[in-house]
């Protein structure tokens, strides 16, 4: 009992989130049709949670362990806090997006549910990034998924919206089912669901590789679904295209971040054998996890990039782009070193900023033109210079050209890779970058090089949105020129509990 009470202060952010959720639900019920204050309540809740996350930084302990010598259910560490912060900040930005989103405005009567479900996602993700137990992982993943299934179809006004929701739930249900099956096998093999204990067993006991491989593959099916890694990515383009754009942005950033945090923790805690003095990891020899990740990674980025070449819907294009980026991020993990881990974290921060920025612009344009089709972007450069130039910068950053932040993100990944002597992989990844340039630049071509056949009215955006845009724009450029703080931050956050 003491243990529980002692552990409570480790989950302050989650408690805060849960309280915020309750408050939101209650206010929504009280206020009835009046949805004015919901956004403010939401933002306040987010800020409060942010505060608790920042406060929590530097903690490193298990929470909810039955006795202090044992491993707990949750691992509170700066790695988790880093991802929580990333998640909460992207949530904040997405909520700000939602305030102006035309799609969300149309579904105004469900705004309470919308925000509540976002809280559901947040709580799920928080648990996901900090859990040390496979059962908790599964439940958190389901919480995250269930919320996002509904959010993907929240506006309900279009076919594609509902369809996205259905596809998501079926695909997600199967994926998590497969993952659960994998968890059950691992449980059978080791007798525990705690990943730290599993790791201890891996290191000490003689286990059969085949069944471990099987369980790891099945578990990866669930994680791969979340991070949309090939060949578990199929839902991504369809759901991203169908979901409201705010949710698409959110899924592509926060949900993916949580999935990656899970993958990183799973890899570094469960499958590790030892860490060398130079920071590289030795994985257990039961499973060739590294080769597996290399295959997945190359497949993911290649598939994402090449399929994106053909897209004419910007949301769908960004969906494929986010698949490709998942591939790049996996590269950081492939390096199997602390350096690679750091690279992944740096990548994520930058990816979050630039991807959110791109989606934001797409949303703002869609608010006015009602379309995300590339054809409707023709000649937009003339009528909406700020928006299009911003989008251009975000896309260039996504390509990874200096002096934008995207370059730094890629640079660190490649530094890690080459330091691990994986030159051919790095080369393939770089060739992929070249391919990706084509479809990103194609957007620029439509905006700036082509002429519109019809007259388009100038797109004006309000002051608050311009500020938000610039807030996203500044780090996209600045981090490309001066990235010391970011790297320092990531470097200080790579500490996983116990490793």
């Amino acid at each position: 009992m003491d243990q529980i009470l002692n552990s409570l202060h480790y989950i302050k952010p989650e408690i805060s989130a849960a309280i915020a959720l309750s408050v939101l639900v209650i206010i929504d019920l009280i206020m009835g049709k009046n949805k004015k204050y919901l956004s403010i309540v939401m933002i306040l809740g987010l800020l409060a949670t942010t505060y608790f996350i920042i406060e929590q930084f530097g903690n490193s302990s298990f929470a909810f362990n039955s006795d202090s010598s044992k491993f707990g259910l949750l691992a509170v560490d700066s790695f988790g806090s880093f991802f929580k912060l990333l998640i909460i900040l992207s949530s904040l930005i997405v909520v700000l997006f939602s305030i102006t989103s035309y799609e969300i405005k149309k579904a105004k009567e469900r705004l309470g549910e919308y925000y509540s479900l976002i809280w559901g996602m947040i709580i799920g993700m928080f648990f996901l990034v900090m859990s040390a137990d496979l059962i908790v992982i599964y439940l958190a993943l389901e919480l995250l998924s269930l919320s996002s299934y509904v959010l993907a179809g929240i506006t309900k006004d279009t076919l594609r919206n509902s369809e996205a929701s259905l596809k998501y739930v079926i695909y997600g249900g199967v994926s998590s089912g497969i993952m659960l099956f994998g968890i059950s096998i691992l449980f059978g093999n080791t007798g525990t669901t705690n990943i730290y204990e599993i790791n201890a067993l891996f290191q000490t006991q003689q286990l059969q590789g085949l069944v471990v491989t099987l369980s790891a593959l099945l578990i990866f099916a669930g994680i791969g679904f979340k991070i949309s890694a090939a060949p578990f990515h199929f839902w991504t383009p369809d759901v991203y295209e169908g979901a409201p754009i705010t949710i698409t942005a959110y899924l592509s950033v926060a949900s993916k971040a949580a999935g990656f945090a899970l993958l990183l923790r799973f890899t570094k805690v469960t499958l590790i054998d030892s860490i060398n003095t130079d920071g590289s990891w030795n994985l257990i020899s039961l499973i060739d996890w590294k080769t597996f990740l290399i295959i997945i990674s190359i497949l993911t980025m290649t598939l994402g990039n090449f399929a994106a070449l053909w897209q004419n819907n910007l949301k769908r294009l960004l969906a494929y782009s986010s698949i490709a980026h998942a591939g790049y991020i996996l590269l950081g993990l492939i390096a199997l070193s602390n350096e690679g881990l750091m690279a992944v974290m740096i990548y994520f921060v930058i990816y979050a900023i630039m991807n959110l920025g791109a989606f934001f612009v797409v949303m703002l344009i869609a608010n006015k033109t009602g379309s995300e089709e590339l054809d409707d972007y023709r000649g937009l450069g003339k009528v909406a210079p700020l928006l299009t130039v911003s989008l251009a910068i975000f896309l260039i950053s996504l390509t990874g050209l200096p002096p934008t932040a995207g370059f730094i993100a890629k640079l660190y990944i490649f530094l890690a890779l080459i330091n691990s002597k994986m030159i051919i992989v790095a080369f393939i990844a770089l060739l992929n970058t070249v391919v990706s340039l084509y479809y990103y630049v194609r957007v620029l071509k439509y905006m700036f090089l082509d002429k519109s056949e019809k007259e388009i009215a100038p797109i004006k955006i309000n002051f608050a949105n311009s500020i938000l845009l610039i807030v996203l724009l500044i780090p996209t450029i600045l981090l490309g020129i001066y990235f010391t703080p970011l790297v320092e931050f990531a470097k200080n956050s790579i500490a996983l509990l116990g490793f």
Partner: protein, 532 residues
């Protein structure tokens, strides 16, 4: 003067101008143009000031203490995790004999390109903002001594170029722009890989005695700085230096452009607006050869020596192939574009023999080709502005209608042919003198002399088709040069003639450095071969 951050000023002045321009409204077209003109003019002045204070006796190349106008301070410093060491990137600018020439060239060409941009009518604000951004990127490449910084500038140039071709170009501009973009990015990908590989292969000793990996180009040149296990370290018996060299070379070769990576060039040139063609041919192509001289050669002297013959061979192919391809063209601009391929071949040929004469010739050829080809593109632009066609067969007898213009054309054409008395001759002759003295590539050099003949062939044929013969009655209305155009052609003509008569004006800046490079290559080669 050596302590004043003049190189930063030179490099980032256009950014200031760009910000100014962006703060103006679209209507203030005149102001925008004048700002650009003033910025590029001031840059030219700064470049001249730099020349004025330049110390001929300081060599540069691999010696940090003999670079001039050096600016060096820590840009990024991240005390790292135990396993990486400190990540350190310097803001490190400086010039030596190789770069000072190209800095001067860049400022001249940009200044003249500003005049060539004067009659741009579509989205002026965007054009000049991008133009100035491009300017910064180009200068940045030539003054950076840190590989990372170099790479940033190198890539920074892509985007403005894409838009400048893509928005303001000819009918197939989109295709040309994307082709340019993809091609060059493909090249930079190779460069990036090698850059990272080098980073992990050499360390720099900090003031406190600790060793850190380094992007510093000069550090990378010194064999003593390499670690024993780095993948590109000569001490590592399984090193990948050979592959890395090829990759790096391809990266730069695409920019030159070297056969068979040249096909982006004709397209880009044909579609680009005049001013951009001028910059593209005048400055951008030099980045490739500059990169090879600044980075590939001194960092990989051992591999360079092994591959000299192939470099020469590709130089020869460029010369002959470019000339023959030029001969078949009907489009005036395409002809000039292919002539660039041919002329850059001389630079490659010059680099293929490590002699003072040929390297001087190669660097001088970079400068001369920059001015000559800039003038050629301006010439094409002038006639295209008037006639709205570049089909050479559609012309004829222009000499009668536009005699003064034709006079300038003749100067440029004969300079391109390599007529003595004009600048092109000196550099080609030096290249041949040097290359011929290298036994390794003597046969190649002899075959390459055919380029002299073919060059005369296609140039004179073009000259005849466009300017000679009876005046085609279609062109009765063409006017001779106007004031703005004099501003473009007269300075270039003067430079071409002046350097043709007295090349030492430029040569004096580079001799020390070129000699140092030759010596360094020899020494480093010996050191490295002693390791293995």
């Amino acid at each position: 003067m050596q302590n004043f951050p003049i190189l930063s000023l030179l490099t980032f002045l256009p950014i200031v101008g760009m910000i100014f321009i962006l703060s103006l409204t679209k209507r203030q077209e005149k102001t925008i143009k004048w700002i650009t003109l003033i910025v590029t003019g001031v840059q030219l002045l700064i470049a001249i000031v730099i020349l004025f204070f330049y110390n001929f006796s300081m060599a540069g190349i691999n010696d940090p203490s003999s670079f001039q106008f050096v600016e060096k301070f820590r840009w990024i410093e991240i005390t790292g995790l135990a396993w990486v060491g400190t990540i350190k990137i310097d803001y490190f600018l400086g010039i030596d004999g190789l770069s000072v020439v190209l800095v001067l060239l860049t400022t001249i060409v940009t200044f003249i390109a500003t005049f060539a941009s004067w009659n741009i009518s579509k989205s002026i604000k965007g054009y000049f903002a991008l133009f100035l951004l491009l300017d910064t990127a180009m200068l940045g490449v030539f003054v950076s001594l840190d590989f990372f910084l170099f790479y940033v500038f190198w890539e920074l140039m892509l985007l403005p170029m894409y838009f400048l071709i893509g928005v303001w170009g000819g009918p197939r501009r989109e295709y040309a722009a994307i082709k340019f973009f993809l091609y060059t990015l493909l090249g930079s990908v190779f460069i990036l890989l090698v850059m990272i590989g080098l980073y992990f292969s050499a360390t720099e000793t900090l003031a406190n005695g600790s060793k850190v990996f380094s992007f510093n180009i000069l550090t990378l040149m010194d064999t003593a700085n390499y670690t024993t296990t780095g993948i590109l370290s000569p001490f590592n018996p399984n090193n990948l230096r050979f592959i890395a060299y090829i990759a790096l070379f391809i990266g730069f070769a695409i920019k030159i452009p070297m056969f068979p990576f040249h096909t982006w060039l004709p397209d880009a040139h044909v579609e680009a607006p005049t001013a951009i063609s001028v910059i593209l041919a005048g400055v951008l192509l030099k980045m490739g050869t500059y990169g090879i001289l600044r980075i590939s050669y001194p960092i990989f002297p051992d591999i360079t020596i092994q591959l000299l013959w192939y470099i020469g061979l590709f130089g020869m192919i460029n010369i002959i192939y470019g000339a023959l391809a030029a001969m078949a063209q009907k489009d005036f601009k395409k002809l000039i574009a292919y002539s660039s391929v041919s002329h850059m071949g001389y630079v490659l040929l010059g680099m293929a023999s490590l002699t003072t004469a040929s390297l001087s010739g190669a660097v001088l050829q970079m400068f001369n080709h920059g001015t000559i080809t800039a003038m050629l593109f301006i010439i094409v632009g002038i006639i295209y502005d008037r006639a709205h066609t570049r089909d050479m067969d559609a012309f004829g007898g222009i000499a009668n209608q536009m005699p003064i213009y034709t006079g300038f054309v003749a100067v440029a054409f004969f300079a391109a042919i390599g007529l003595p008395g004009l600048s092109g001759f000196i550099s080609e002759a030096l290249v041949f003198v040097g290359a011929f003295s290298s036994e390794l590539i003597r046969t190649i050099t002899i075959i390459s002399t055919l380029g002299i003949l073919l060059g005369a062939g296609y140039m004179l044929w073009a000259f005849q088709r466009i300017y000679f013969g009876e005046l085609n009655s279609k062109w009765k209305e063409l006017k001779d040069l106007e004031l703005r155009e004099y501003f473009m052609v007269v300075p270039l003509t003067l430079i071409i003639i002046l350097l043709g008569v007295y090349p030492s004006l430029i040569l004096q800046f580079m001799t020390t450095s070129v000699n140092a490079l030759v010596k360094f290559m020899g020494d480093a080669q010996i050191i490295i071969s002693s390791i293995n």
